[in-house]
Symmetry: C3
Subunit: 439 residues, 3 copies
């Protein structure tokens, strides 16, 4: 197995150490507890006429936060384990970049959002943790487009710039334009989707077919991916309601998202079955398109769209997303040279746009400005970051080593001594076959 | 591999589309937000002398709801992945029928329960979402009896009728008879269990042994199933407390269920070990009978049964359920022609009956009426629905294709080009063996 | 395969039954609901001027409890599934001993902590359930050191004594010495770690290398283990905040743990990559050392350590824990004859000590007394219990059968008739190879 420039023994540790030290210094200068997480909270309570600890924002938000946290680390991580020999990277690199991203997001979103004017400090509480997780979601979406084709160092660079762009874009959309987008259809999904797709375009590999034998699933990896799908699907109501207004706002966002996602499942199954001669279902569709309704309702989840309105959104998104996998993904790859490993165009980019449009229809046309800003940041930012990632210094894999954990991980070997595993005679045959292939 | 009538390319999409469109229309006519999820909630608060958003039912119920939601989609879904080649169907069809079922349940339970008398609308909030999940649980239990032997279209039909029967039965038991059953021992588990067992009886296949080579587990599938078991086990306290009274009622239901389940684990292990000559444990028992205590305490969870009372229930149910797998399941199959793939008789039907009896002992004999209604609806309903499912139009698999994902799913092939997988020389041997088997 | 004395058909059922019956009797004599889970709660509310059910401790604690519960059963259970043929035992025995342990912990912690002076009863509520889960965590940590080398009966004995020692040690540290340790750096992790390591030392097997072929992972088992890692990592903020003070205390403990864990991930990745010639990552490090920050912040999580302080702790612990796997574990095995299957020294014992020291630095030197007590109980208790476990009556596996589920479980055989599995010709080769090995 040829390994070209993929030794990351210096690069990866240097990036991890220097960036983590930078985080510590910046947190030391800028970040403090907010009034509800500070030990002076009891005094603040009296000043604010708050009569009970139950009024602490922690109790409104923490269960939702934990659901979102599971989506980020288990949901996104396991959704990407579907490749036959890339599960370590899927779940491991997801873990790495999310852990860096949430720290950088607390700083970037703090500077743009919750900077205390009198002290110049960023004051953080549970809502900031949720927002940091949201911000990282955008980068994890982008990861899906380049899954298997980049090094962990490139992923960290993508995350550094992705979080930076996200925080600025979010500030413009939510604070300057006063667009509503509590579940992030535009801010998270459309931005993250087009950011990842543009990077994938810039990094296009004409000879990626050399790794084609690894670019599919095996039975067990598809079951692992369903863990990701289901935790995303189940907790999406928490995602769309986590930073909605206390009380009826959160309550309504949950109901709408719950209904919308249920409808997506039925239409995804219908189109998936229709797309095969014998009516068989395709795991790729079930793993991804069932989630499209949650994405599309991100903007409008807390609006009074009414229960049947939520069902209609889910109905349409299941259809469009599944058809995206059947028709649009091959088109993008063949004609626009955009290779999209996880199909984020169908799961995030397109449903995110639909969500923005739904929001514009229900809440007013000024919402459309948000779509434009998200798209512009995704595409322009992605083009610049893609250019940086093309530099031949990041340790990315050769075309014939894509989608292979062997490049960046110590992968356990099947053991000859183990009577339960494949015996030596077969190993011998394997070697013979390899030799023949090499000839 | 002969495939008889299992092409569902028209049937499945038609059912999914028409039923989902029907849901949208019916939701449009009937379903609205309730006062706590409606944007008028702040005004309602003032009218009702509620002083804080924390009083919104959302904050009492949402964490429990999410736990129940995980039980429905990950718990039930993964519990059924234990078969060696039926994991896609287990988790995928569970996902499909639950997604349809929760919509239909909101309507059915609404018409029978929360119809606003002045407007004729169904007003929904978080408690309705929990109840819809509960209702679907009954159908997923029934799924366990027929796992591997029916088509997804049949499962949708089972769910349509199952939810309908459930809503009527629940109305009679809880509203007309004023029987208490917050965790659904009778309403959910006994009903769902006997509904599924009766359907399985009607659909009995004398030649099911032709698929015997697929009717077992492999090592990895048993580990996947433990994901289901553990999420069900851990969150069962939420299941039994989710719609209990605020405050001490919910609190006590959690304590009782937690203790009862712990006791079930020890006695399940004891009987499982006793049942083998060498004292080895059987994964089937650990995966299922450890949960029996949660089922049996469904009725009485919020009663003052006292902590040791909960332990006694768990102690007995672990024993009875495990002995059910050892003695009763073979008896049912041999003598009554009831084939029960997941052993729902031992996990749901029998413990559900015990739960009803525990409730009758602790809360009064009128509770026994609930048992009779649940049984009658399960058995009579199951007989009728089983008859409908025998019509030769639903695309069910041939006897030799049961328990096989290949029939309804695009299953990834082990790739010859992949050096990590089985090499061509072995594939060749495989073909030879197949040929021999075919001769 | 020689099987020596591992028949547990009498031992295991006898222990399970007698201990469970003992639990029922002791609960009957001692355990009652506390005021907030008792049906008299509404009257108590009026006496205590509590105006709302939301003030019931249940609503403050229950979401955290469920997160901790997931850590105990899925987190610890799946973290230990990494061995190639020991996943049933990892997740199954974890389930068994935790289910016994939580019952015994409610009694032991009750006698030492929440005994009602007027009635002599132990009054339990949701906080007791959390504390019981915490107590069991200490025993599950110890399980990690001896994983694969002991019988389930030995594990139950370890848990019986472990919980007993824990309750006394906890009482001395928290109640008598008034040391603070809400997340249990000393009480749970240092105690559990040294308890397990000492037992492993006493049970040292000089010929454990005879099972060396099973003492590693395979690809799928490493992915299963990541389920455990991630649920532990995500919910650790709940672990460290679950019994912190209501309001800002819980809020701050969450923020600190979240940040600390994020920093651990980056430095773990850095050291793991540095440790290999080609910079490849090692799954063992990612699965374990990423969690070290959560352990180390157990004592100080709710202190005003400030966000950057939390990052520094995580930064250092990721480094130290990973270096522990590289340097200290081999040293302990070679020089001190301590074989530590899961590396609990690096994940729990050492970070737990660091946590105690961090607490002593930030809260005052009297905290150091807690470290000494935890160490003494772990080492002395472990030595005594290890001695008991050396008695030749517990059914432990022979040296050549360690790490093998076959000893205690009915393991499904790969089926010759299944065309998807390994065909007969290969099975034949397997038999030949076995014969050769036996000669």
């Amino acid at each position: 197995i040829p390994v070209l420039n993929t030794n990351i023994r210096i690069k990866l540790p240097v990036v991890c150490f220097t960036w983590q030290i930078a985080m510590i210094i910046l947190f030391g200068v800028f970040v403090r507890y907010d009034s509800e997480s500070d030990a002076h909270w009891p005094e603040t309570m009296i000043q604010n006429n708050i009569t009970s600890n139950t009024e602490n924002d922690f109790y409104y938000r923490y269960p939702s936060f934990q659901d979102v946290h599971v989506m980020i680390f288990v949901g996104f991580g396991f959704l990407m384990t579907f490749l036959k020999r890339y599960s370590f990277s899927a779940v491991g690199f997801n873990f790495l970049i999310a852990s860096f991203g949430i720290q950088w997001a607390l700083l970037m979103q703090g500077w743009f959002g919750s900077l205390d004017p009198s002290t110049g400090k960023i004051l953080i509480g549970v809502e900031n943790l949720i927002n940091a997780d949201f911000c990282v979601a955008g980068c994890l979406i982008a990861f899906g487009a380049v899954l298997g084709k980049v090094s962990p160092v490139q992923l960290l660079v993508m995350t550094l710039f992705g979080v930076t762009l996200f925080a600025v874009e979010e500030y413009i959309i939510l604070e300057l334009l006063h667009v509503k987008d509590a579940g992030g259809s535009m801010v998270i999904h459309a931005f993250g989707g087009y950011y990842g797709l543009t990077i994938s375009r810039v990094l296009y590999r004409p000879r990626i077919h050399q790794s084609k034998h690894l670019q599919g699933s095996v039975y067990q990896s598809d079951v692992f991916a369903m863990i990701g799908t289901l935790f995303l699907w189940m907790f999406w109501p928490s995602f769309n309601s986590a930073i909605a207004y206390h009380g009826d706002g959160q309550h309504r966002a949950v109901i709408n998202t719950y209904l919308c996602l249920a409808a997506s499942v039925l239409t995804t199954v219908a189109i998936s079955s229709l797309s095969q001669k014998t009516g068989k279902l395709d795991m790729v569709h079930i793993q991804n398109s069932t989630l499209a309704g949650g994405v599309a309702l991100g903007t409008a989840a807390e609006f009074m769209v009414s229960p049947y309105g939520a069902l209609i959104v889910g109905f349409l998104c299941g259809i469009l997303s599944t058809m995206g996998y059947i028709f649009i993904s091959p088109f993008l790859e063949k004609n626009l040279k955009i290779h999209d490993t996880c199909g984020i165009h169908n799961l995030h980019a397109m449903p995110g746009l639909i969500g923005g449009i739904v929001g514009a229809i229900t809440a007013g046309g000024y919402q459309a400005a948000g779509i434009c800003v998200a798209l512009a940041f995704g595409i322009v930012g992605g083009a610049i970051v893609g250019g940086i990632l093309r530099l031949p210094i990041w340790g990315d894999p050769a075309d014939e080593n894509c989608y292979d954990d062997e490049v960046y991980w110590e992968v356990p070997e099947e053991d000859e001594e183990n009577p339960d595993s494949i015996p030596p005679i077969l190993e011998y045959n394997n070697h013979m076959i390899h030799k023949q292939q090499e000839m």
